[in-house]
Amino acid sequence: MASERIESIKSLFTAKSAKVETNKGEQYYANLYEKCKTRLESLQELPPVSNKIKIESALEDEGVNRRDFLKWASATTAMLMLPASFTPLVAKAATLMNRVPVIWIELQDCAGNSEALLRSDGPKVDEIILDIISLEFQETLMAASGHQAEKQLEDAIATFKGKYLLFVEGSVPMGMDGQFGTIGAKAETFYDHLKRVSDDAAAVVAVGSCATFGGIPAAAPNPTDAKGVMEVVNGKPIINIPACPANPANMVGVLLHYVLTGQIPELDSLLRPKFAFGYRIHDNCERRAHFDAGEYVEEWGDTGAKNNFCLYKMGCKGPMTFNNCSIVRYNEGVNWPIGVGRGCIGCSEPDFWDKYAYERPMANANIKAPTGGVEKTVDQFGLGLLTAAGIGIGIHAAASVVAGKKGETNE
């Protein structure tokens, strides 16, 4: 039984869709380079979709020099897992972001992803976000509201039919015929709204854990029968950028990739871009050395906490969470949860509220410091740990379902 489970988890994580190939060979990149170049040249021929400021003057106005801009471009190139030779193309793609129309809608959400986008990543890239990309419709940012905003949305859909990227924030409440969330004067349900706006989109980008996997609203007992976008939208390319909130670096990354290649980035089996979700938090964690050395925080505020030890025993879900937080961090790279001594809560994984939550330790995992070299640690110990945790997660998931039911009958 146990060995079967280990095998199935092993196959899940070694499946082709889960592999990240950071080097696809010279020929591949040479072809891609040519393709991107042609794509950018044809984009350049197009007029900007709306009359927005040029990136060059915006950067100049804000005192960002060319050097800083290229620094940002080379960091972004690396994040997209492209060779350094692509840096000039990425920089050029950034200046052409106003050729691709973007519509952003909010459904059953807390607007946390809009908030995160507002304080985007990189030196002065907020300029790029706010001025350069052609955000045709974004409730939080635009001046129009109410009926005026509804009209703007309709216009944007008609004008850019089949061409715009649709960013969706928030889950879709399906319970009670969708009456838990409605929008506009006609009280259109979120589901109908999403259908209508996504029908004419080139691709749909689900941003944040609610839009991707249902998020908090979908946590047990899922009072509104909340669903992620991919469960209700069919026949459209969908890209999932989970996490709560989604990292703006990854939103910009997806957008930039689309501008650059005209295609959506390579995705894993959960439709997440591999450039961002190809590795676990644990793989690049700044506290990893303490994990390997068997040094853990045992209680909040103890000596281990003061010395930035590993948070695994405090319930950190880094070992089973796929995301690039440990590399790109948050708030313009200032910090991230593990940086302030709080474990990862696995917020970019499906059903994390019920399975992981925070501080519930994973099956009281009895961890022993691994022996042998670093290589062994990564490959063998890593997988072993994952398996143990996988089983632990199952137990906790079951426990939380029982807990949920118990709470209900008590009322």
């Binding site: 059953q108 807390c110 607007a111 946390g112 992803n113 507002l118 304080r119 907020d126 706010l130 939080t140 940012l141 001046a143 009926h147 905003a149 409440p173 838990f180 969330g181 409605t182 929008i183 506009g184 004067a185 009280a187 998020g215 609203p217 946590a219 047990a220 899922n222 009072p223 509104t224 909130p245 209680e299 909040w300 505020g301 103890d302 906490a305 003061k306 948050y330 708030n331 200032v334 910090n335 991230w336 949860p337 302030v340 001594g341 709080r342 809560i345 917020c347 509220w353 939550a357 925070y358 501080e359 519930r360 939380s400 807990a403 949920g404 039911k405 118990k406 709470g407 008590n410 009322e411």
Partner: protein
């Protein structure tokens, strides 16, 4: 005549339905049509899970929810017999991050809600990039939050007994730089004068020296007869306590103490939001309430001339940016990093308890009430600031914002008044 109006700033959507009688608004219905069921989701979860779930109620005041949650748990732990005191360091760090959240909130509301609506009322279209100004200062202070809290939005760095972070002097210097930058921006762009000079303003005549966007805004309101609209009950309440805000209620010129237990939620018809009342009466919460309870001289002067009108409400909120930036600077200067970050060492959670956590969030008082039975949350109640301010009418009594819109001559003006309270539908209905 009935006019329907949709409002969707800054978090989610609200629907206003105005009834006009001889050219003036004589009734208004406020509706919120979004529901996620966060309180239902919390039921049945482990108590500490609230620390990661409640911040997600709201993308813009998530930190206030975290602090309310952790305070509710702490009060419950004490109720169950645990004894612990937070270190001054932990308290100050929480105050710092919370104050920064208030600042970014106020700034975004000013630039993304108030200015665009003012331009709509005046039918003007100035060439000003409000979004950039808002995002610049909001970025700066949220970076300062991230130094201690790991990220913004949606941090869970506060735990019963303190905080998880253990900042170094380098962290404090970085945070100081960011606060200094926010102050520089405030001086240059927002108030057009030195911060200390601004903070010494006490009388209306001194306001003439005010420059920047704030000065422009005040003069525009005065010049266009917008200063005096939007009066409501002139009745205020502050429920959260901190080193800076005092909890009390104020009716006319009398300030008196309050008792949390008299706060009640009431169901309303036609909307998914509940109303919040104190001893069966509506009170206004938020920056104006806090300033009046704190007897801020300039707010007292404004109230004397304009009562609880639009201009006093807007002034009080922007004023809080200045006083909070000054306050956070002091907090950093006096932070003693040698103290303990978390004084409740045990991971143990009592199995049965009930607790209350109250906090002053950007839009006003936020209450979390938790009941735990056999180590599982049996009831969790969240009462948000917008439930006080943006309630509809219950039992013949009009909500605070609804009352402030009565008698106005256009729906645009009424929307302006409504937005001066700040819409947050995701909080209101949760």
């Amino acid at each position: 005549m009935i006019v329907k109006k949709l409002i969707e700033k800054i978090e989610g959507e609200a629907e206003l339905e105005f009834s006009f009688k001889s050219g003036k608004i004589d009734d208004v219905d406020i509706k919120f049509d979004l529901y996620r069921g966060i309180e239902e989701i919390l039921k049945g979860k482990a108590p500490r899970d609230a620390l990661v779930i409640t911040p997600r109620v709201c993308g813009i005041c998530n930190h206030a929810h975290l602090i309310a949650s952790v305070r509710a748990l702490e009060s419950g732990f004490r109720d169950a017999g645990f004894t612990f005191e937070l270190s001054k360091k932990a308290k100050d760090i929480r105050e710092f991050t919370l104050s920064c959240e208030l600042v970014q909130n106020h700034i975004k509301w000013l630039y993304l809600t108030i200015f665009p609506q003012l331009n709509r009322v005046l039918k003007s279209d100035p060439d000003d990039n409000y979004a950039l100004k808002a995002s610049y200062i909001a970025n700066t202070v949220t970076k300062a939050i991230a130094i201690f809290a790991g990220q913004w939005p949606h941090s869970s760095y506060a735990v019963p007994g303190g905080v998880t972070c253990d900042p170094t002097y380098i962290d404090i210097i970085s945070a100081q730089n960011l606060i200094d930058e926010a102050i520089r921006f405030t001086q240059k762009v927002l108030i057009g004068m030195d911060l200390d000079e601004y903070l010494s303003i006490e009388s209306l005549s001194q306001l003439k020296t005010l420059g920047g966007d704030f000065g422009k805004l005040l003069f525009t309101l005065e010049d266009n007869q917008l200063a005096k609209i939007g009066k409501s009950y002139d009745r205020f309440i502050v429920l959260g306590e901190s080193a800076f805000f005092k909890s009390a209620k104020s009716i006319a010129t009398t300030t008196s103490t309050i008792d949390q237990r008299f706060v009640k939620e009431l169901e309303q018809t036609g909307t998914k939001a509940k109303a919040a009342l104190y001893k069966n009466r509506f009170y206004e919460v938020g920056p104006m309430a806090r300033a009046i309870i704190n007897k801020e001289p300039i707010i007292m002067s404004l109230r004397k001339r304009y009562r609880d009108s639009l201009i006093t409400r807007i002034y009080a909120r922007v004023h809080e940016v200045a006083i909070l930036l000054n306050y956070t600077k002091g907090l950093l200067q006096n932070l003693d990093i040698t103290q303990e970050s978390c004084t409740l060492k045990s991971k143990a959670t009592p199995s049965d308890f009930s607790g209350v956590g109250t906090v002053e969030a950007a839009r006003g008082s936020l209450i979390h009430r938790v009941k735990v039975k056999e180590s599982i949350i049996s009831k969790y109640e969240i009462i948000t600031p917008t439930q006080w301010n943006l309630s509809n009418s219950v039992e013949e009594k009009r909500g605070v914002a609804a009352n402030a819109m009565i008698g106005l001559e256009s729906d645009e003006l009424a929307s302006f008044v409504f937005k001066s309270f700040d819409v947050c539908s995701v909080c209101t209905t949760h």
